[in-house]
Amino acid sequence: MRNGYLFAAYAATWIIHIVYLCTIVSRYSRVKREIADLKKPGVAS
């Protein structure tokens, strides 16, 4: 069914964008965690 290709193309587009956005979000939460770690008085090693 040719329309399957149409939906596949649109789905693929959004999957690619969402995957990239997910990487941004996960790296963002990691940075936030690192900022929190920096802010509290660090234990001297």
Partner: protein, 236 residues
């Protein structure tokens, strides 16, 4: 550590909602309102995602070129971040082009890939900017901005050569042309432009988020570096 500016905190969600609305409207136009193409049928609607993604990718790569040149002249760290961000997001959009292209080609021409001008040029462009991202990842952080900027300039200068060489090659060895040449129905053009506007806004927001992420990351890295320096001094 500097927090996000209050103006940005407000603008971003508003723009996000607006962009989502625009994208939904564009989707509706593509799937429902746009006229059905005669020879290809509904599959042709892939065109409304394929082409705007290509245009957006080209604009982003151009921004990368501008930012890289600016960095080479002024050594402005913000320009370096802009270069990185525009290359990354550009590669994402370019990937969309390279994925939707074959999905479109298969039902229409029965083949997954054709070395036609546009698809081939896009592939080479993708390769150039992926190699740029590799350089950024593999080089040591002190040097990265300058080296990456130099590579970006070379890559951008390569683009006209890519187009010319493939164009001539294709005139000598013709292949099925994707995307249809010739004039376009004004209603289809209208839908195309709406999608382009929507994706451009989307790209802008993604770039903005990535920019903020990168600035934060660099501040954190600097803070870490400073901390180790202090530890060394304190411990000595």
């Amino acid at each position: 550590m500097r927090d996000d500016l209050p103006g940005m905190k407000k603008a971003f969600p508003i723009l996000g909602v607006l962009t989502a609305i625009l994208l939904s409207y564009a989707l509706y136009e593509s799937l429902v309102a746009a006229p059905t193409e005669q020879t290809m049928g509904d599959v042709q609607r892939i065109f409304y995602y394929h082409v705007p993604s290509a245009w957006t990718a080209f604009i982003l790569f151009f921004v990368n070129f501008g930012a890289s040149v600016f960095y080479l002249i002024k050594r402005n760290p913000a320009a370096d971040i802009v270069a990185l961000v525009s290359a990354e997001v550009g590669v994402v959009f370019c990937t969309v082009v390279l994925v939707t292209g074959p999905i479109w080609a298969r039902p229409v021409w029965g083949i997954w890939w054709t070395w036609d001008m546009r698809l081939t040029s896009t592939l080479v462009l993708w390769l150039i900017y992926v190699s740029y991202l590799f350089l950024r990842r593999f080089s040591s952080s002190g040097q990265t901005p300058a080296l990456a900027a130099a590579l970006a300039v070379l890559g951008a200068l390569c683009v006209p050569f890519v187009y010319f060489s493939i164009w001539f090659f294709r005139t000598q060895h013709p292949q099925p042309v994707m995307g249809g040449g010739g004039s376009i129905d004004p209603r289809m053009l209208h839908v195309l432009l709406i999608n382009w506007l929507a994706f451009s806004c989307f790209a802008f927001l993604v770039c903005w988020s990535r920019y903020r992420l990168e600035s934060l990351q660099r501040e954190v890295d600097q803070a870490h570096a400073l901390e180790s320096l202090m530890d060394l001094r304190g411990g000595a």
